[in-house]
């Protein structure tokens, strides 16, 4: 694998994360517990679509086959998607959505903080922009996790169940593989071991403040780095890609 190939896949994966998570958050439109929350969650979805556009456009350039961000988003199939499993899971209740946003935004915060120093200047610029947005996502998720954890008995149970249910999908966030190793050597990719330590510490702190219990580290789900997904991704793609697939000649 060349450095160029590795970087293509690296950007694709980050772009897919943003795209798929934005899809899930946008499903909260007209579905949130209060109107303000409807607006907040869809606002994060908007940030993520913007991030997906930047990353997928760059991925398309690196690939060099003339594919645009839309081509990559709308014309790839299940096995060609590389987003982390955590982000494609159905929303569940509000606690599950908050738990996912918490796990992913804390991860993204440390991750993009590191990536700002990437030797690849395009990636570094995207990371710098992303960190600013992710700070708000993280603050929001933290705030709700604490309120729900330390709110009523019901909300406490729901929040605990949510972090327990999603825990087995967090291991994947810190995996490294051949492509990240190549990019690490060149000071392009972020150092996962360090990010993992910071992530764990911060999540522990928030879970403690929320009067919740840290889940036990048991089996961690894996597969997305090779395009092995949950059954849910196929449904996302069939809905998201419907118009582009049904009218391949059309532009919108």
């Amino acid at each position: 694998m060349t450095e160029q190939d590795a970087l293509y896949k690296y950007c694709l994966r980050l772009g897919d994360d943003a795209l798929i998570h934005s899809y899930r958050l946008s499903e909260w439109c007209s579905n949130a517990p209060i109107l303000e929350e409807d607006l907040a969650l869809t606002n994060f979805a908007l940030d993520m679509i913007g991030r997906a556009q930047l990353l997928l456009t760059y991925a398309g350039q690196l690939e060099g086959k003339g594919r645009t961000d839309d081509d990559l988003a709308y014309r790839r199939s299940e096995r060609e998607y590389f987003n982390h499993l955590l982000l494609e899971l159905p929303n569940g209740d509000f606690a599950h959505t908050i738990a996912r946003l918490l796990f992913s935004s804390v991860w993204e915060y440390y991750f993009f903080n590191e990536l700002q120093h990437s030797r690849d200047t395009t990636l570094a610029a995207i990371a710098a922009k992303t960190v600013k947005e992710v700070k708000y996502h993280m603050a929001h998720a933290t705030d709700w996790a604490i309120r729900l954890g330390d709110g009523t008995e019901e909300s406490n149970h729901r929040m605990q169940k949510a972090i327990d249910d999603l825990w087995m999908y967090t291991g994947e966030l810190f995996e490294t593989d051949e492509q990240t190793a190549i990019l690490r050597d060149k000071n392009i990719a972020a150092d996962m071991a360090m990010i993992k330590a910071k992530w764990r510490q911060e999540i522990e702190r928030i879970i403690g403040e929320a009067t919740l219990t840290m889940p036990k580290d048991e089996y961690m789900q894996t597969g997305s780095s090779t395009g092995i997904h949950t059954e849910y991704l196929g449904h996302i793609l069939s809905e998201m890609q419907y118009l582009q697939r049904a009218y391949p000649e059309a532009t919108w």
Binding site: S26, P33, D38, D93, L148, G151, T152, A250, W252
Partner: protein, 321 residues
């Protein structure tokens, strides 16, 4: 007896001040006196407007996950967010009249408060997203531009903010239609079909003809309503017909033609039976929209309860410090 006479006198003076303000065209503010009828009329109108913004998120939200490009998705999502924001401004404006958002939502659920009838129509294809932005927001703007001069201060200020965003929505909707009309045969057919379905309901958004409209009297006297239903409808038709022609869409009205004497377009008869059928609950989506709003509101109750419990806990802790 004397006391009663005195309070009568005070009331009379306050009413006179109110009427003078209206005559001069001054804004009425929440703290000032206003007759009960004025307050009631405004409450009904502003809460209906707020609910319309919020219920209107449903038909458009129906297409977010299927938007055909990243840019289209972004524009649609931002638009729907604007509408939710409009709902928030308007709920706040209504709250200045002494009602809470929770009460307004209860009234919506019980059927006491209404929302715009247009959202009882389904958004069936992607072209409907274009048609809604262009025609529905386009019709709303005509109405709202006129409401920028409405006599109640908080309502008129909300309208000024809202109108700025609405004109974006209208342009973006029109852009969707224009793009489709430049596209494949399938896209053109899809766009024309949406036009056919949304044109008449958009005209109905302005309400019954002036000769039939029950609320017009007081609302005009109090300068809540500044132009009549038919005047506003005519404005909308005149500006929209030309926009349709430019991109090659046909207005589904065989009687539509330019009237050189009036310098307006004449239009064919509006199907008021349909209008009243939908208003009275038999539109395709009336039950769906309300059931959805109620379901979501109930499903979120535990979250609101948790936020409130947490707030109270923190307040108590502060007191014990």
């Amino acid at each position: 007896m004397e006391i009663l006479e005195k309070t009568d006198k005070i009331h009379e003076d306050m009413l006179k001040t109110f009427e003078q303000k209206i005559d001069r065209g001054d804004a009425i503010e929440p703290r000032g006196h206003m007759p009960d009828g004025y307050r009631k009329h405004l409450l009904r109108q502003i809460s209906q407007h707020a609910h319309s913004e919020v219920i209107g998120m449903q038909p458009e939200g129906n297409w977010i996950t299927r938007a055909p490009s990243l840019r289209a998705k972004q524009i649609l999502l931002a638009k729907i967010q604007d509408e939710g924001g409009h709902g928030l401004y308007l709920y706040s404006a209504a709250e200045t009249l002494g009602i809470s958002r929770e009460e307004m939502i209860d009234q919506l659920h019980s059927g006491k408060a209404k929302y715009s009838n247009i959202f009882n129509y389904p958004a069936l294809t992607w072209a409907d997203i274009g048609a809604i932005g262009w025609l529905v927001d386009g019709a709303a703007i005509v109405n709202q531009v006129s409401l920028q001069r409405t006599s109640y201060g908080p309502y008129s200020r909300a309208m000024v903010r809202i109108c700025k965003e609405e004109s974006f929505h209208q342009r973006q909707g029109y852009e969707i239609m224009a793009k489709m009309m430049k596209g494949t045969k399938d896209q053109q057919a899809m766009a024309q079909d949406a036009m056919n379905r949304w044109w008449w309901p958009s005209l109905m958004m302005f309400g019954p003809h002036d000769t039939e409209s029950p609320h017009t009297g007081d609302a005009v006297k109090w300068k809540i309503k500044r132009q009549s239903n038919d005047e506003l409808r005519q404005k909308f038709i005149d500006k929209t017909v030309q926009q349709a022609e430019v991109i090659g869409l046909t207005i589904p009205d065989k009687d539509l033609k330019w009237n050189e004497d009036k310098r307006h377009y004449d239009h064919g008869p509006i199907n008021w039976d349909e209008f009243y059928r939908v208003i009275n609950g038999n539109g395709q989506c009336n039950k769906q929209r309300m059931a959805h709003h109620i379901k979501v509101h109930n499903a979120g109750a535990w979250v609101r309860a948790a936020a409130e419990a947490y707030r109270q806990k923190k307040e108590k802790q502060l007191l014990h410090l």
